[in-house]
């Protein structure tokens, strides 16, 4: 577990950098985590995805998979990979302050 400080408030995260408490999330935290992961600026397209993820997680308790994002967030999969390099679902969840999507094994 690690702690980052955002605007003077300590925020707890797991070893991979996901927030432990979704309720602590703020848009400032999103921006900070994004830049930590090589995204210098969150554009409106980024926000569309992050907000969709958060809403879906808070409503259902599960973070959507990359395929559901491609079908339902309004952003096609190709663009998701451009916006959030490598693992869009994982990175957007991290930026949105929700737990890592459970990889179904």
């Amino acid at each position: 577990m690690t702690t980052i400080e955002v605007a003077g408030v300590p925020v707890e995260r797991d070893s991979e950098g996901f927030l432990l408490h979704t309720g602590q999330w703020t848009s400032q935290i999103a921006t900070d985590i994004a830049s930590e992961n090589g995204i210098p600026e969150l554009t409106p397209r980024h926000w569309q995805v992050v907000e969709f993820m958060r809403e879906r997680y808070l409503a259902t308790g599960t973070a959507p998979s990359i395929r559901s994002l491609g079908k339902e967030s309004g952003v096609p999969i190709k663009e998701l990979y451009q916006l959030f390099p490598k693992g869009p679902a994982k990175l957007a969840a991290k930026i949105g302050g929700i737990p890592k999507p459970r990889g179904c094994i």
Partner: protein
């Protein structure tokens, strides 16, 4: 009053639950109907062996209706849709089945057409899947004709049935080409969208070690956006490329097509949102689901379906009696992993406990966990008999309980 129980799907889950429920109710207490589009029950773990000539299709396929006990109706037809608001199922042959309890057990549908190019030129010529009977047979011929080059084993994206199967395929291919004396002319590559060989950390490290020991290259975080059969290359969404001469892929999976036509039943890709511990669907209290058809966060695998079956049967009985449901399914899964040359690993895990080294079913063995052994391979072969003669009829398998046991597992320090 006679309860009406309708079960959609006559595969592993539908069959074992139908047989278990038939034993719980006399025929005047409940009618049980099973619906499936065909009468071919495939022992799916057997598909892995078909391409290597280690199993024949007629050994692994039997009539569905013959696996169902007396007093269970079998309807062979496609399902048009479920009308949740009216508690009935519309069948494609025009019949209607009203129900008091509905059980969804229609598994997954392979969706190769969802990946650009995959069903285009080269599909089933140099790009194959062994996840269905025709594919496994075609691949058997292709492997026979293959005498050197670059073979890529891939899964397009999770979730897939039996997530270890593509790894097993790579291991068996290494063994197969070695026995044919041409291993030095074959380049084997394993391409996965995951960040390691597998999802769970301890097993992932173990399996990555095995790939490397067998000279199989591992390419991670590669999410296939396009398969180019003419050019012989996989292209990822972030525009990396992996060339191949022969591709063995596991296509995207979705739910059965009728799920999407049934308002309120499934999610965006056709899986049924289901309570992970009671197996009641979130759609309606009188709808339950098990096996590959659900969205519960554990492997899509026969062992999972088997363990879920016990909880689901109990909960259907409780529901019909107006009692509280039992939240007893813990995500227990186990599977043998073929590693080639007559050996296999065994893993055993649940929602909370990842696969760990140790012994199974208890500390005194006899089967080693996460370790290659001849005995595990024999266990895998023996399981096929147990499947037809104990698991499908709904009998308990001695020593194997639905709840995972931690006895025999070596505890590892919690990650910091």
């Amino acid at each position: 009053m006679t309860h009406r129980i309708v079960i959609l799907g006559g595969g592993t889950g539908g069959t074992l639950v139908a047989n278990r429920l038939r034993r719980r109710y006399d025929e005047d207490e409940a009618t049980i109907a099973v619906v499936d589009k065909d009468d071919r029950h495939v022992y799916q773990p057997g598909l892995l062996f078909v391409p290597f000539g280690l199993a024949d299709v007629d050994e692994i396929v039997k009539p569905r209706h013959r696996q169902l006990h007396a007093g269970i109706e079998f309807h062979q037809t496609e399902i048009d849709r479920v009308v949740l608001a009216e508690d009935r199922v519309l069948l494609s042959d025009g019949a209607t089945l009203p129900y008091d309890v509905l059980i969804v057990a229609t598994g997954v549908t392979l969706q190769p057409e969802e990946t650009e190019g995959l069903t285009g030129p080269g599909w089933r010529e140099r790009m194959f899947t062994f996840y269905d009977v025709p594919g496994a047979e075609q691949l058997s011929r292709a492997l026979n004709d293959f005498d050197g080059g670059r073979m890529v084993v891939n899964l397009v994206d999770m979730p897939i049935k039996c997530p270890v199967a593509p790894l097993e395929f790579a291991f068996l291919a290494d063994s197969y080409f070695t026995e044919r004396g041409i291993r030095d002319r074959v380049e084997l590559v394993y391409v996965t969208p995951l960040d390691g060989a597998f999802t769970k950390p301890v097993a992932s490290e173990h399996l990555a070690g095995l790939l490397s020991a067998k000279g199989i290259e591992l390419v991670t975080e590669f999410a296939v956006g396009e398969a180019d059969g003419e050019g012989g290359r996989l292209v990822s969404w972030d525009e990396r490329e992996v060339p191949f001469d022969l591709l063995v892929t596991v296509p995207l999976h979705g739910g059965a097509p009728y799920v999407e036509r049934s308002e309120g039943l499934g999610d965006a890709v056709g899986f049924v949102p289901t309570d992970p511990t009671t197996l009641q669907s979130l759609a309606r209290p009188n709808v339950f689901a098990l096996g590959d058809a659900t969205n519960v966060p554990i492997s899509k695998a026969g062992s999972v379906t088997h363990f879920e079956g016990e909880t689901l049967t109990e909960n259907v009985v409780r529901f019909l009696a107006g009692q509280e449901l039992s939240a007893s399914y813990d995500g227990h899964a186990n599977c043998f992993i073929e590693t080639g040359f007559g050996k296999a690993l065994l893993i055993d895990f649940n929602y909370e406990t990842e696969p760990l080294p140790g012994r199974f079913p208890t500390a005194v063995g006899p089967l080693p966990l996460l370790k290659e052994s001849r005995l595990n391979h024999l266990g895998k072969l023996m399981f096929q008999w147990l499947y037809w003669h104990a698991l499908l009829p709904g009998r308990d398998i001695p020593g194997i309980s639905p709840a995972m046991s931690t006895s025999g597992k070596e505890r590892l320090p919690e990650p910091v």
